[in-house]
């Protein structure tokens, strides 16, 4: 059964990755990142059960904490950028080049 | 008494002192630099007097642990070869300081004849501080007996020189400085790889040179490591075809920096070949000797021919140096005692001879505001002392007997001839080419009707005479009596060649009565 969870996790991770790559709305990009993090959590939980210890769950817990922190900061940045540029598209913030 | 540490420490402290002098008091900075360099010279002489040529190979040895986990230590000591080169550096630095007295004030500006002295763009104080730092590095690189320490000095030397060229040089200084730095770094990094590999393969947990002799036995490993070291030294020396950085660097560098660059810094290359390539990798050295000798001979002839065609006086001198470095490399890799002694002596003599040429060229350029040979003409009539000094310096460049370079060139050629006849004969043709490039340059600049542009050129002033007098005196004295230097060099060269374990070529018909005697 673990394999099923892992495959599901991989699928979600890939979908999240593609979302990061193709979407331009910064908020949606963030959502995709969250999706990738969640898929990892699923794998952690599955492994936790497989190995019979709680470390995996703990790890998932910490991932959630960090993800929460990341979202907070990230969204704050998006708001700041939006305030100056009137846009939430990641492609608009492209000055850091060459 | 830790002589060598003191020798390195004094200029570093002096440099700090000079750097701390408040802005606007350039005169004080110059005086302090001169004082420090003279102290270093005095200390060096005091040390050299105590050197015992027939004693241990490495003397004044010091060793302090530096990075124990890699067996890196701050190990310094001198043998005869290193000693003479350190003395060379110590003598040249005060001369360069004195020679840069005025030039440094205008560093970084394009001199224009007729125009009022342009406003200085760079601080002269920093220049002199860099000079002292460079002196410490030069002493360190020759004194290092720890291969890693040698590498550190080898690379660190670039830094002050980079700034001296890049900040105080001619119109194309940044191109020249970057070229110089990149070339040297390229070689240096190859050497770093080889140094690390040497440490790993030798597996002795030390970088101390004496303990590493004979540590590498596998001939293939030797060949690779040899190449790593050799290319670094060949770039530094510079050997054909790694030479093109030198004309640019020397032509753009301020006079003082050019003197030290060609006079001392480049000697690190040939010194490294003699010290490290030969002794650490004897088999590889023998294997590569024909190739290196070919390159050296090409360099001799090629450098001379290209020198003939130069129209910029400093570039011309740089190309003559490429030719002369060919001679030194030839002497090192001929692997006979005569050639080895000759090559070492050549390093010293070439230091003085090129220094004299660059210094006088610098005086001329300072007066005329141009490096182009065609911008001069008939200077001898106007400034006979200047012209005479230039002629002596030039003649030492073409190895005229009676001047010091002759002894070394003769030794190199005769020593090479013992083993390799054809390269020696081709190299001897370089003597003719040397006459052409020196005398033609002299003719174009000094002879003929006096050019309008030099009609008001002043002759050498007191300071300039004092700059040139010691150099020319050394050139002449060593030309007639090189014995003191040779006596110091000979045992060290003998040691080196013993490590390489080459057999000396024997004469076909050894003169029976007194092999060494000349008519006794």
């Amino acid at each position: 059964m673990t394999t099923h969870y892992l495959v599901l996790s991989a699928l979600l991770f890939t979908i999240g990755g593609i979302g990061v790559l193709v979407r331009r709305n910064a908020i949606v990009v963030f959502m995709s990142v969250e999706l990738m993090l969640n898929s990892c959590n699923l794998a952690f939980v599955a492994f936790s059960r497989m190995h019979g210890n709680l470390d995996g769950q703990l790890m998932a817990f910490f991932v959630m904490v960090v993800a929460a922190a990341e979202v907070v900061v990230g969204l704050a940045i998006i708001v700041t950028i939006f305030r100056t540029r009137r846009s939430a598209s990641v492609d608009d913030a492209n000055l850091l080049k060459y | 008494m830790p002589w060598l540490s003191i020798l390195m420490g004094v200029p570093v402290l002096g440099a700090v002192g000079v750097a701390l002098i408040p802005k606007g008091r350039e005169q004080l900075a110059k005086q302090l630099t001169l004082l420090v360099s003279l102290i270093v010279l005095a200390l060096t002489v005091a040390m050299a007097v105590q050197f015992n040529p027939s004693g241990d190979r490495f003397q004044f040895a010091e060793k302090y642990s530096w990075i124990p986990s890699f067996g890196v230590s701050f190990g310094v000591a001198v043998d005869g070869i290193a000693l003479v080169l350190i003395v060379l550096s110590a003598i040249l630095v005060p001369i360069v300081v004195l020679a840069s007295w005025r030039e440094a004030d205008q560093a970084g500006t394009v001199p224009e004849s007729g125009a009022a002295a342009p406003k200085p763009k760079r601080s002269a104080k920093t220049y002199f501080a860099l000079l002292l730092v460079l002196e410490a590095m030069m002493i360190g690189v020759f004194a290092a007996t720890d291969v890693f320490l040698f590498y550190v000095f080898f690379e660190a030397m670039l830094i002050p020189m980079y700034f001296m060229i890049g900040s105080y040089g001619g119109p194309q200084r940044s191109y020249a400085a970057v070229k110089f730095l990149l070339y040297s770094l390229f070689g240096g990094l190859l050497m770093l790889v080889a140094v690390i590999a040497l440490y790993v393969v030798a597996d002795k947990n030390t970088f101390m040179f004496p303990e590493l002799i004979g540590a590498i036995q596998d001939p293939n490993v030797q060949k690779w490591l040899f190449l790593g070291f050799f290319i670094a030294f060949a770039v530094k020396a510079p050997l054909w075809p790694f030479h093109t950085w030198l004309p640019d660097a020397a032509a753009q560098a301020p006079t003082g920096a050019a003197v030290l660059l060609v006079g001392v810094l480049d000697k690190v290359g040939t010194y490294g070949m003699l010290r490290f390539c030969l002794e650490l990798f004897p088999d590889a050295s023998k294997y590569f000797a024909p190739l290196v000798i070919t390159l050296a001979v090409i360099g001799i002839i090629y450098g001379a021919i290209v020198a003939i065609g130069q129209s910029d006086i400093k570039r011309l001198i740089a190309y003559t140096s490429i030719s002369h470095f060919g001679f030194i490399t030839l002497g090192v890799f001929a692997m006979t005692r005569d050639a080895g002694a000759g090559a070492t002596l050549y390093m010293v003599n070439h230091g003085f001879s090129t220094a004299a040429l660059f210094l006088i060229a610098g005086f001329l350029i300072y007066r005329r505001g141009s490096q182009r040979i065609d911008d001069f003409g008939g200077v001898q009539k106007i400034a006979p002392v200047l012209a005479g000094a230039f002629l002596i310096a030039g003649l030492s460049g073409l190895a005229l007997p009676g001047l010091s370079t002759f002894v070394s060139e003769f030794l190199v050629l005769i020593g090479t001839y013992e083993r390799y006849i054809v390269p020696a004969v081709i190299a001897a043709l370089g003597m003719v080419l040397a006459a052409i490039y020196i005398l033609w340059m002299y003719q174009r600049m000094m002879n003929g009707p006096t050019a309008e542009s030099v009609r008001n050129m002043p002759d050498l002033n007191g300071r300039e005479k004092w700059v040139l007098a010691p150099v020319i005196a050394v050139i002449i004295v060593l030309g007639f009596y090189p014995k003191p230097v040779l006596d110091v060099i000979n045992p060290a060269v003998h040691h080196t060649l013993q490590s390489v374990s080459v057999t000396e070529p024997q004469p076909a018909v050894p003169a029976s009565a007194d092999k060494k005697g000349a008519g006794q």
Binding site: I15, L21, V22, R23, N38, Q57, T80 | -
Partner: protein
């Protein structure tokens, strides 16, 4: 058997929702789709003997994080949507290739590994899941836990700092404000919105005595917003006048900038002529 059914149902749901999240044009839809995925995952956690995590997932993610997303979406514009034109050349193509490749590789890897039957967590959660997790958190992972808390506090501070609008000059006093006002052309202030208005909304322009729209009476931000594709005011007459006013203003601005440029150029030209 029950787990299998749950899994298959939720797997289909979550993958569909994830795809929907990625490919829906509207950000709000994406957020809602993400909520579906997260809730599905929460259930899957619960199925796998992780009730604590399931609850945390619901509370923290679906409850807090997603709400945050929605709030930000509100700030940015709920109805904002991406254009479908991809501007970076080949981005989608390579994304597809890389995504497929990645999925294939992971599948290959997972498929190739023979995983034993799950041991189950009964052993380690004799006292129940939550106490067991709590014990671990406060014993072995206490340091990480504390660091995480520090991280959260830092993140909260960071969010405040970032979202905070920096004041570049001293706060104007009442005196400053009044001085500024009297230095303008309209010391009495612009006409209030809706002087002759039929609505009292902020985006309704004032009408001049002749019945035409006063362009000065509407904030440019709102005007531009209104002149866009999505215009909601229902009075067609008003809509027309808004659009006309906005166009007029744009044209005016353009001509103004042109004149400025021309002015900037002429002095140099004169000099050259002289």
């Amino acid at each position: 058997m029950g787990e299998a059914i749950t899994f298959w149902v939720l797997a289909v749901v979550s993958v569909t929702a994830a795809l929907g999240m990625v490919f829906s044009r509207r950000a709000v839809y994406s957020a809602l789709m993400l909520a579906v995925v997260m809730l599905s995952l929460a259930v899957l956690y619960a199925v796998q003997d992780a009730p604590f995590l399931a609850v945390v997932q619901v509370i923290v993610y679906t409850g807090a994080v997603l709400m945050l997303f929605l709030f930000v979406l509100m700030l940015v514009g709920v109805d904002s949507s991406d254009s479908l034109v991809e501007t970076i050349k080949g981005q989608r193509f390579y994304a597809a290739i890389a995504g497929l490749g990645f999925a294939a590789l992971l599948g290959l890897a997972i498929g190739n590994v023979a995983l034993g039957a799950p041991k189950g967590l009964a052993e380690v959660t004799k006292a129940g899941n939550v106490p067991a997790v709590a014990e671990l958190i406060f014993t072995r992972y206490v340091f990480a836990f504390e660091v995480a808390s520090a991280l959260l506090i830092t993140a909260a501070l960071a969010a405040m700092v970032l979202a905070h609008r920096e004041r570049l000059r001293a706060k104007p006093t009442q005196k400053d404000l009044s001085r500024d006002r009297f230095l303008t052309d309209n010391p009495a202030g612009l006409p209030g919105p809706g002087t002759y208005a039929r609505h009292n909304a902020i985006d309704m322009p004032a009408l001049l005595p002749d019945g035409s729209v006063s362009p000065l009476s509407v904030s440019p931000v709102i005007a531009r917003h209104e002149s866009g594709a999505v215009v909601r005011p229902t009075d067609p007459e008003m809509v027309k006048s808004y659009v006309a006013a906005a166009r007029e203003r744009d044209a005016e601005e353009e001509s103004m900038s042109l004149t400025r440029e021309a002015e900037a150029e002429t002095p140099g030209g004169e000099k050259e002529e002289k």
